[in-house]
Symmetry: C2
Subunit: 223 residues, 2 copies
Amino acid sequence: MGHEVLAAVLQIRDDTLQVLLWQRAQQPDLDRWALPGGRLGATEDVQTSVLRQLADKVDLREVAHVEQLGVFSAPDRVPGIRLVATAFLGLVRCDADPTVPADTRWHPVAELPPTAFDHAAIVRDARERLRAKLSYTNLGFALAPDEFTVSALRDLYVSALGHPVSATNLQRVLARRGVLVPTGRVAPPGPAGGRPAALFRFAERHLRVTDASAVLRPPSAAE
Amino acid sequence: MGHEVLAAVLQIRDDTLQVLLWQRAQQPDLDRWALPGGRLGATEDVQTSVLRQLADKVDLREVAHVEQLGVFSAPDRVPGIRLVATAFLGLVRCDADPTVPADTRWHPVAELPPTAFDHAAIVRDARERLRAKLSYTNLGFALAPDEFTVSALRDLYVSALGHPVSATNLQRVLARRGVLVPTGRVAPPGPAGGRPAALFRFAERHLRVTDASAVLRPPSAAE
DNA sequence: TCAAAAGTGTTCTAGCTACACCCATGG
DNA sequence: CCATGGGTGTAGCTAGAACACTTTTGA
């Protein structure tokens, strides 16, 4: 019984949520597109393994966030052999442009090419996880550059969430929660003019739950 | 490389959140307490496997809810061999009293006996998952009997969450969300008298997210 | 002076908390 | 009639949504 790790690496490219896939050159599922990953090594845990595989196989070292999605273990998920997979969500900042091998390409999550095995389901789970966590954590840090304007950040959220987001309210919500802090600098206006936008950065660049609005919380959980 | 499944089965017993453990009779970790589980079979996925193992090994068929917690894969998590584990959270209703084997016992989650391998970490994750999901889903159905009073339900929530919960507000929140429905019947008062309590049941007995209060939700998400 | 883009002020509302008060029962 | 536990009414608070209005730039 083998164990592999797979990563659904997502990035906003051209205002579109995309996932990194490589095209298989052998059977089974010849020519279909697959998630990067590989066999779990003898001396590593699954998270170490997935980071190693991304670095080795697709030369991807700039992963801003990685988390486990779950185990995919249907007995027939890979024909011929028994292979259990631990799937991960990986996020790459939109200002990174890693060079990837020739057989590897970014594809819009909304219109996947023919995919190998159960990898389409893993991509779906990854997108759902990203969407959910964007709204109650500071996970945006893994999509955004170091410094950005609120409207640039809004565009990232729109691309990831797939529905309109108000820049006004986005700023207020994230500022109130202490997720965003102003850098004091401003970005030059575009060619059409307009007021220069203030630049912000994320207060923290590791995952934190920012909306503890889960009801039934402990009484008087004063900060 | 082997693969096992492990279940942290939780139940509220005597107003205390408890977990089902069995005492190991051989090395390694002789006499320490372990989670039920076992090797993944060749023709089953991990969820099927964990349900089978619970039924076979601890004769536990009355599991109201099961969900994956994640993969535990540190290379040295089990001495001697490489064994990757998929951990599950299982919940048993408080009115069930399954008969378990002689080497198996319920233990309060807050004061675990000496545990085997990395099982204590799995129990911690299970408790955290339960606490989190109680507040934004209808997961209470997996702890409560078919019919119950609001104060009985409150006691379950208090035991699981570890902090006081107002029965008044619990009822209102769950009623507003359509999670609880009155059965029209009442429970007899206790020996000290008091108004008879109305009986409720959960509207659905499978997991549903009831608090979509994740901010940044789509605009005008009218029911 | 005007258009474009950014940012602020203000109002509205849903949903939850807190707490007072009323109800139904046993002794 | 009173203690005990259950249930309801209601006021207040907080966070977010919506939208009008002001600010700062380029042409």
